[in-house]
């Protein structure tokens, strides 16, 4: 007919522009479509009905729908990083140059090797996987699983990063109408006229839903509504925007396609709207159901509405000779539409005994043969429809007649789209008269105020005709037809598909019922009914009805499955939006970050911070770099960027009293000008943080926390101040980032600071565990003399904006002293050499200070502190708790981190008993020997004993229990 394919009709197609052709490729074929086409309409126009293979049997499949419910026509789109599997051809706008491929087939779509499964269908019944792969045990791992992995799965996952951008946006709207059909637009008009802020979301590029195709003056009605809505400033109309889910308190997610059609537009491909809606009007229409007759999955068997839409919207004929099979009046519209465009309709097969409505009469008047009380006994053809066999609906399939045709338009009635209503708890009622589940307006999903946060209108509410807005004449009732014919044989039921994508048939659901599956949720999982990418949009109700029939109970007694978001699949890029690459997380950088980076720092993530782990020189391993840094510090002077340490100001008349509750030790007695190490426990008694506190003035303390603990500890303080001791006069402020802090460490540290000048840092002016303020090298500074390495050490805090300046001045002045920047790993090793604990290494949320030999940091005088009562519990005072010790490896190997020391015998689970665990383990460059810390049963009482640490595939490690302080036991080095 035209260059865009033999099935393009000479006229019609309200959505296409015949002036503009678009070239595209499908499985290597070069084809042409039109602007406005979907991929499916363009393929159908070219006579390409076969678009994929089913999942389990690899049956040949064509599209059955013209919209989001499509289970069959799933294609792989794009190439490289833009490859996307499982895209519905029926909703994908055709783009010039599009490259598409069929899925689930090898070596090709028409000759698929996997289709052998199809010949063996009797051996692949419901629950096949559960039944078959049980025994022998070893077969699963070595035989079944590899085969299933190779053949299972829908489309392939892309292997490259997605080059497209995505974004999200938040909106706050009084009323969101989901669905741009006649019902949605009517609801929007009503609210818009009342002055509410209104958004209307339409998932397709086109307004109007079914109305333009189904009603003579439908398009005019839609255009009139749109004209008025566009004139209202408080109304926003968004096309290409699919509401994916409705969540608590009116939280609605919607995906707006911005550049799906044009990857080169330079804008985000999709936008995820995160909408807070005062109320949601669900105007999502209804979806047509297939009929379950033998051969209903042969390519060319389609939903009647889809056949009509391809004609009306795209000027495409799904076939030239179309048989209509129905249980309702609506499908007659398809016959009339086909006839109007010159296609032939040899027969309408109506399961109902009578068909006397206006539409059937109109069909008869046009000369179409109508067979009532009739059914399809079988479809002729394999890869395409060749004809149908007709029988009586009330019988068991005795064929009365065969009719040639190349397309079957089926309609099993309509189901309201109730997904959004149901996502957040809206309940449904089964309508006996209409044979569908419809929203129960008396049991809506409720919001924060306890009132309905959503309502349904139009077809979604069960009002299929929306006569008030469309002016449609009444139609006669739909007859429930769940199996066609009513008494079909078992053999026929093997060919009646319910879930097309997952190959679940009437026979499978009946078998599940026979095997005792009564719950629809169990049956769903056993048979995989409704678990395909269409999430049961075409299969749920039919499957439920078949199960009910097999269980011999009414449908509401069987129940309905839960609808869960998203309504249609969302791509991961849209969910991640800007959170990828450099912006994956907020990366926290210290004022000296750039310096470290320029010196080749190898980074360690600590919370969101990046800290230098070490500064490897060219050709140097990380271990060598760490060893070099440690030796430099212990022999001369080194600097550590300690800016990430938490710094919290605690001020007020009750600050001392408050800190005495927060810390296990006594902070109120700390003199101004001094520092004290402290431990923080939670109410369970477990150690959660540690650090040095400094008393800045009579009523002000500055407490240091671990790097990861700053926000947590500030929150912890505020929690107790606000919710327990709210009458205590204390203010806290987290000033972590106000200060850059540099640890200047090593025997030459004092000499270096004296070179910078401006402050007396002599032992007299600044003794160990003291602090002073003043200026260093012209920079205002507070200097704490505290040590985490055992060396002479000064922590110099300056305003963050001057941190880099201080750091550079230190390095300039210390060049001849061999000043060396050192990283977190050198810090860790040096603290372990001194037997200092590390939160997160020696603690794991189950360790109390008493386990770590830190009793000296627990005040015996205080009546109370957080964790004190818990530490009196019997389990906490149990002498059998594992306690901190040092370990000395016997053979020079570094013990594996976390290794368990074994004891004699086995426990109740027949596992080897254990008596200890390695918590920190390093090669000490200072001692030139491996060192480790461990928690060991009765450890401190067992000095000199040797423990065994078995490790799979290696000779057991053996280590001697020793004091955890490996270096400078007297502590003289801290004095310089």
């Amino acid at each position: 007919m035209t260059q865009t394919g033999p099935f393009r009709l000479p006229a019609g197609g309200r959505l296409i522009d015949r002036a503009y052709q678009l070239p595209f490729r499908f499985d290597g074929r070069h084809l042409r479509g039109l602007v406005g086409d979907t991929l499916a309409s363009a393929l159908l126009a070219n006579g390409q009905m076969l678009m994929g293979r089913s999942f389990k049997y690899h049956r040949p499949r064509g599209p059955i729908s013209c919209g989001v419910e499509e289970p069959n026509a799933l294609l792989g789109l794009g190439q490289g990083g833009r490859f996307e599997p499982n895209q519905r051809a029926t909703t994908t706008p055709l783009v010039a140059g599009m490259v598409t491929s069929a899925q689930n087939c090898w070596p090709s779509l028409t000759a698929d090797v996997g289709a052998v499964n199809n010949w063996l269908y009797r051996f692949f019944p419901a629950g096949f996987y559960y039944k078959t792969f049980m025994y022998p045990r070893g077969f699963w791992k070595h035989v079944f699983e590899p085969i299933i992995r190779r053949s299972a799965g829908l489309g392939k996952a892309p292997t490259e990063a997605d080059p497209d951008k995505y974004e999200q946006a938040y909106a706050h709207v009084d009323l969101v109408v989901v669905g741009g059909g006649i019902a949605g637009l009517s609801a929007a008009l009503e609210a818009g006229r009342a002055g509410k802020s209104v958004w209307v979301l339409e998932q397709t590029p086109n307004w109007g839903g079914r109305t333009p195709a189904d009603h003579a003056d439908g398009l005019a009605r839609i255009d009139a509504a749109l004209a008025e809505l566009r004139a209202l400033p408080n109304v926003t109309l968004r096309r290409n925007t699919m509401a994916t889910g409705l969540y608590d308190h009116g939280y609605l997610l919607a995906r707006e396609a911005l550049a799906d059609h044009d990857p080169n537009a330079g804008i985000p491909r999709q936008r995820l709207w995160r909408i807070r809606a005062g109320h949601v009007v669900v105007a999502t229409g209804a979806l047509e159901r297939p009929l379950s007759f033998a051969g209903n999955d042969v390519p060319g068997v389609m939903l009647a509405s889809a056949v009509r839409d391809y004609i009306a919207d795209y000027g495409v004929a799904a076939g030239r000779s179309i048989v209509v099979v129905t249980n309702n009046d609506d499908a007659y519209r398809t016959a009339l539409a086909a006839l109007d465009t010159g296609l032939s309709v040899p027969v309408i097969i109506d399961a109902r005994a009578n068909a006397a409505g206006a539409l059937p009469e109109a069909a008869r008047a046009r000369g179409i043969r109508v067979l009532t009380g009739s059914a399809i006994a079988g479809v002729k053809g394999g890869q395409s429809v060749e004809g149908v066999k007709i029988c009586a609906q009330s019988g068991s399939g005795e064929v009365t007649e065969e009719i040639a045709a190349d397309c079957v338009a089926m309609s099993g009635g309509w189901s309201p789209v109730v997904h959004l209503w149901s996502h957040c708890g809206g309940k449904l009622n089964w309508s006996e008269t209409e044979s569908f589940f419809a929203p129960d307006p008396n049991r809506p999903p409720t919001g924060a105020d306890g009132k309905a946060m959503a309502s349904c209108t139009g077809a979604a509410s069960g009002d299929l005709l929306v006569a008030a807005a469309t002016g449609a004449a009444p139609e006669s009732a739909t007859m429930p037809v769940w199996v066609m014919p009513a008494h079909a044989t078992r053999k026929m039921k093997f060919k009646m598909w319910l879930d097309f994508q997952n190959d679940v048939k009437v026979s499978d659901v009946e078998l599940a019922a026979q095997e005792g599956y009564q719950s629809v949720e169990h049956t769903k999982r056993y048979t995989t009914l409704g678990m395909a990418t269409d999430q049961g949009k075409v299969s749920n109700i039919n499957g439920l009805a078949v199960l009910s029939g097999a269980l011999n109970q009414p449908i509401p007694a069987t129940g309905t499955t839960t609808f869960r978001p998203p309504y249609t699949p969302l791509t991961f890029g849209t969910i991640a939006a800007e959170a990828r690459g450099d912006l994956f997380q907020p990366l926290r950088k210290t004022p000296m970050h750039g310096w470290h980076e320029a010196r080749g720092a190898y980074w360690e993530p600590v919370g969101h911070w990046r800290r230098a782990y070490c500064y490897p020189k060219s050709g140097e391993s990380h271990a060598d770099a760490v060893a070099r840094e440690i030796r430099a510090v212990r022999a001369g002077v080194g600097t550590l960027d300690a800016s990430t340490l938490g710094k919290i100001i605690v001020k007020g008349p009750d600050a001392g009293r408050f800190l005495d509750m927060m810390y296990t030790g006594m902070m109120s007695s700390l003199p101004v000008g001094k520092c004290r190490y402290g431990l923080i426990c939670n109410e369970n008694g477990f150690l959660i943080d540690d650090g040095v506190a400094a008393r800045l003035s009579e009523d002000t303390w500055l407490v240091h926390t671990t790097t990861g603990g700053a926000d947590r500890m500030h929150g912890h303080f505020e929690d107790w101040l606000q919710t327990e001791w709210w009458d205590w006069k204390v203010y806290t402020a987290n000033v972590t980032e106000q200060w850059a802090q540099v640890a200047v460490v090593g025997p030459k540290a004092r000499e270096l600071l004296e070179r910078l000048g401006g402050m007396d840092v002599s032992p007299e002016a600044l003794p160990f565990m003291g602090w002073v303020t003043g200026e260093i090298a012209g920079i205002p500074a507070r200097v704490y003399r505290i040590s985490f390495s055992g060396e002479l050490s000064f922590e110099v805090a300056v305003p963050a904006n001057r941190g880099l300046e201080l750091w550079e001045k230190l390095h300039a002045a210390g060049a001849d002293l061999g000043i060396t920047p050192y990283g977190t790993e050198a810090m860790h090793v040096m603290r372990a050499e001194k037997g200092f604990i590390m939160i997160g290494d020696e603690t794991d949320g189950t360790v109390i200070p008493q386990d770590l030999g830190l009793g000296w940091a627990i005040s015996k005088k205080k009546p109370d502190y957080l964790g004190k009562r818990a530490q009196e519990r019997s389990h906490m005072t149990d002498p059998d708790r594992w306690k901190l010790v040092g370990l000395e490896s016997l053979d020079g190997r570094v013990l594996p981190d976390g290794a368990l020391a074994v004891a004699d015998g086995v426990n109740a689970n027949r596992q080897r008993r254990t008596q200890g665990r390695v918590t920190s383990t390093y090669m000490s460059p200072t001692l030139n020997a491996p060192i480790a810390m461990a928690l060991v049963l009765h450890g401190p009482e067992r000095m000199g004993e040797v423990l065994e640490f078995p490790v799979e595939g290696q000779e057991s490690y053996k280590a001697r229990i020793v004091d955890p302080v490996f270096y400078d036991k007297e502590g003289s080095r801290a004095n310089g």
């Binding site: 951008k165 974004e167 999200q168 946006a169 938040y170 909106a171 706050h172 926003t236 109309l237 968004r238 096309r239 290409n240 911005l258 537009a265 330079g266 804008i267 985000p268 995160r274 807070r276 800007e578 959170a579 450099d582 912006l583 997380q585 907020p586 990366l587 926290r588 950088k589 210290t590 004022p591 969101h608 911070w609 100001i649 001020k651 007020g652 008349p653 006069k729 203010y731 402020a733 000033v735 972590t736 980032e737 106000q738 200060w739 305003p799 963050a800 904006n801």
Partner: protein
């Protein structure tokens, strides 16, 4: 190529003082030392160079030229010497961005879960921008967003990304 939705620029040399106090008791003393009236809940008060913002029932933020910080902090500490109060220089721990232009609101709507369209001029809102805590006030034909200094690059990145040309939130 089209223009960015808004102009994103980092604001330098801002001084910031965090004030904690019982505002009912110490309000007059603070107002005197800051040179600005105490703002109402959720609002800021500005004289064109300084801005005093309401952060919580017992917290204010004074934003002022960096050069005026030391004297003002001293004046505040002086004025609050008899109160249980806290006044701290927090200038270095913060970074500020000005988001200016017709699309400024759209830029922030992509990052913040709050209803910024409903926020009047001079109002202040503490919220999050993508994954980062921030404070935002509306000033002139745009907004000022403050956040932590350590994530300046992150904030710059998300703001610039959200302002990408051609990505206004108008319906298409």
């Amino acid at each position: 190529m089209a223009e960015a939705l808004a102009n994103i620029s980092q604001v330098h040399d801002l001084g910031m003082i965090q004030i904690r106090a019982d505002l009912a008791r110490a309000g007059d003393a603070i107002a005197g030392a800051a040179g600005l009236a105490i703002p109402a809940q959720g609002m800021t008060v500005s004289d064109g160079t300084r801005r005093l913002g309401w952060m919580s029932p017992d917290e204010l933020l004074l934003v002022l030229p960096r050069a005026e910080l030391a004297d003002t902090l001293a004046a505040l500490n002086d004025a609050l010497s008899t109160e249980h109060a806290l006044a701290l220089d927090v200038s270095d721990m913060r970074v500020a961005f000005r988001i200016q232009g017709v699309g400024a609101l759209h830029v922030l709507m992509k990052l913040c879960p709050t209803d910024l369209a409903a926020m009047p001029v001079d109002a202040l809102r503490r919220t999050r921008a993508a994954q980062a805590a921030c404070g935002i006030w509306r000033e002139g034909d745009g907004y000022v967003l403050i956040g932590f200094r350590s994530i300046a690059d992150y904030l710059q990145g998300i703001l610039t990304g959200a302002a990408m040309p051609g990505t206004g939130l108008e319906p298409r």
